[in-house]
């Protein structure tokens, strides 16, 4: 592998990794507040991509094809749709289990995930065939010598960085963020202090689902073939990314996502190793859990039994 190829693979890896990072942000944020993994996150990602599929032609009619405002509008609308769906999922599936053991909620999350995946495969909803995703933005490739940098390779990391900063700002600097941290710290005490716990949890889900929708759309712009199971693979990688980075830690999720994206890309480009590509993410997970169980940026906490 020569120098230019290494740089090219690094670009590819960062492009892929920042999508994982974006999905991982959603996982880690919900975990940070509620201490449970929302496995339906990867399916909200799929719903985001499908809402964009239906919204895009309508926006295109008004604003013309492949305009920047159009793309932003599509993303905002889809994020809004998914935020509502996320809150609905929380209201119907998780809220009734609020005071049950965490394991019950976790298993319910898996159930919700399977329910969404298989309901959407029905022909009356999306059908299970792969559908073509519309082009939202004109694609451009920039050539630097032999190295090619696609417009998507720039947009995705920028959006991920902006959203990371945005999330950090919301959680650390706003009133609602303070309330989120309070709920995360001690739900009961927070409610005694007058924090509307249910509303805060709904908001957290809405925000997480909106992130998933953005990730779903960016992912589909990269690989414009979408189907109801499209969220499963990236969702699993992103979950691992969140754990590797230290679950509950926002910058950790991004770091984990980039790490997995880059390693996977390098493995994919090496003959003989390319068919073990999927094993890479899981290999990293095992290593991290063995040697640094709290994750790269996570702080080890002692659990009282």
């Amino acid at each position: 592998m020569d120098f230019q190829q290494t740089i090219q693979q690094l670009i590819n890896g960062l492009g892929l990794g920042s999508i994982y990072a974006l999905i991982a942000l959603g996982y880690t944020m919900v975990y940070g507040v509620l201490r449970f993994i929302n496995f339906a996150h990867s399916d909200v990602l799929m719903l985001g991509a499908f809402s964009a599929l239906y919204i895009a032609p309508k926006v295109e009619k008004v604003l013309g094809p492949q305009s920047v405002t159009g793309a932003i509008l599509v993303i905002v609308f889809s994020a809004a749709v998914c935020a509502c769906l996320g809150m609905l999922i929380e209201f119907l599936a998780y809220r009734p289990l609020r005071n049950r053991p965490k394991l019950t909620v976790l298993i319910t999350a898996i159930g919700v995930s399977l329910f969404i995946e298989f309901t959407c495969q029905n022909d009356a909803i999306f059908g299970s065939a792969t559908r073509a995703f519309p082009k939202l933005l004109p694609e451009q490739q920039f050539h630097l010598g032999k190295i090619v940098l696609g417009s998507n390779d720039i947009i995705v990391p920028v959006v991920t960085a902006l959203l990371l900063v945005g999330m950090w700002f919301i959680v650390q600097k706003t009133r609602i963020g303070t309330a989120m941290r309070a709920v995360s710290f001690n739900q009961q005490a927070a409610s005694l202090m007058g924090v509307p716990v249910n509303r805060i949890i709904s908001f957290t889900f809405g925000l997480g689902s909106a992130l998933a929708a953005v990730a779903g759309i960016l992912y589909s712009m990269k690989a414009p073939g979408i189907e109801p199971l499209m969220g499963v693979q990236p969702g699993l990688r992103a979950f691992i990314a969140a754990v590797v980075g230290g679950i509950g830690n926002l910058p950790g999720a991004v770091l984990g996502g980039l790490l997995i994206g880059v390693l996977e890309t390098f493995a994919g480009g090496i003959p003989g190793l390319s068919n073990y590509r999927d094993a890479i993410a899981f290999g990293i997970l095992i290593l991290i859990l063995l040697f640094k169980p709290a994750g790269l940026l996570g702080r080890a906490t002692i659990e009282k039994v």
């Binding site: 592998m1 299970s128 792969t130 559908r131 073509a132 090619v148 990269k222 073939g225 189907e227 590509r277």
Partner: protein
């Protein structure tokens, strides 16, 4: 231990068969089972072959059916998923007591159903599975298409001959029996032709990011890239190849045959080639007539090769039932095996001793967002 695993289901199937045989005599229709990927990742394969099969059965029934009875087609969807074909075929055989099975397009899924049909002594005809091992499951398993050693060799000759590409990279789907089989057959002939493989890389069917592999491939400076995959993956590979600046032609086998390839891949598919069973614009009188009746039946839809093979496999079965004069498994098997110079829409073909059809293949070039017939290769 292994024997016991087989013995119990086998016994159950025999029992079911014994019972179903009693029913068969009394029925006033001949039941034919079909399993196809009507939904899922390779949905157009199943939809096309199903529509072709349906058209054939309707035509047979319009002309009085076979053996004085109408043919009834029972279709099961396997959702393009591993595991489902076995369920579908078990149900068709034991519950619906069909006399024969038609299906599938994808080799991995045909391979799953073949041993079940073999054990139950129900003839199975795969319309389009090209992996050689499909019909090796036993003497009850047939196919209405050519096999990968022929297709792989034709593709290798196409590469070194027509494309003048002797330096080729190969990208294989490690999850698919079809892809691995075709890749191996291609490689053998291609190396024998004096070609060199610059890079050999793998992907997992269903992957969305291929830039890693494509970057390494580009670095090897190939004159063409051989992608023996299925259309949903191939379309994404073609898009990302263009993005990475890999501009040499891609080529592949009959797994590319689907209109969805163009829906997803759009302009990035132009300039690529694939081999398949037949083309709607190949100009033979039988094909032209078929395209007309198919369009009439399915709202102006132009049939693809899988539709043609679905039609041919059903017609082949109807013809064999007529010749056998019965629907009993062993006799029907012998009648199918004796098929000679059958006039199919995809061309005239006979079944050889391995129960594979010996027939021509065609090459298609993708140009201006359309499939264009370019050449026929005879066996």
């Amino acid at each position: 231990m292994k024997l016991r695993h087989f013995a119990i289901p086998a016994f159950a199937v025999c029992l079911a068969l014994g019972l179903s045989n009693c029913k068969k005599g009394g029925g006033d229709t001949i039941k034919v089972g079909e399993f196809a990927s009507l939904t899922g990742k390779e949905a157009t394969f199943g939809m096309s072959s199903h529509e072709g099969t349906l058209l054939a059965i309707e035509e047979v029934n319009a002309t009085g059916g076979v053996l004085g009875k109408k043919v009834e087609l029972l279709t099961e969807d396997d959702q393009s998923k591993p595991g489902e074909p076995a369920n579908a075929v078990n149900k068709l055989i034991s519950k619906d007591s069909v006399v024969a099975i038609l299906g599938e397009v994808a080799s991995s899924r045909s391979l799953e159903a073949a041993p079940i049909c073999q054990q139950s002594q129900i003839p199975m005809i795969s319309p389009a599975s090209t992996n050689p091992s499909v019909t090796q499951a036993g003497d009850y398993v047939f196919r209405a298409c050519f096999t990968d050693p022929f297709q792989g060799a034709a593709l290798a000759n196409f590469s070194t001959g027509t494309l003048k590409a002797t330096k080729v990279a190969m990208l294989t789907d490690v999850k698919s029996d079809y892809s691995k089989g075709l890749a191996k057959c291609f490689k053998d002939k291609f190396l024998a032709n004096g070609g060199t493989l610059t890079t050999e890389l793998d992907y997992n069917g269903g992957d969305k990011d291929f830039k890693a592999q494509l970057t390494t491939i580009k670095n090897g400076n190939p004159q063409a890239v051989f992608v023996p995959g299925y259309y949903t993956d191939v379309a994404l590979i073609a898009i990302q190849a263009k993005q990475i600046g890999l501009t040499v032609p891609l080529f592949g086998g009959d797994g590319w045959e689907s209109s969805v390839l163009l829906d997803i891949g759009k302009d990035d598919m132009n300039g690529n080639y694939f081999s398949t069973h037949c083309a709607a614009d190949q100009g033979t009188p039988k094909m032209t007539a078929f395209v007309e009746s198919y369009k009439k039946r399915f709202n102006g839809k132009v049939p693809d090769a899988m539709a043609v093979l679905g039609y041919d496999s059903a017609m082949l079965l109807a013809d064999a039932i007529k010749r056998a004069g019965t629907t009993e498994g062993p006799k029907l098997r012998d009648a199918i095996a004796a098929t000679k110079d059958f006039e199919g829409v995809s061309g005239k073909f006979s079944l050889n001793a391995d129960r594979d059809a010996v027939k021509a293949l065609v090459f298609i070039k993708i140009e201006g967002g359309k499939f264009r017939y370019t050449a026929t290769v005879n066996p």
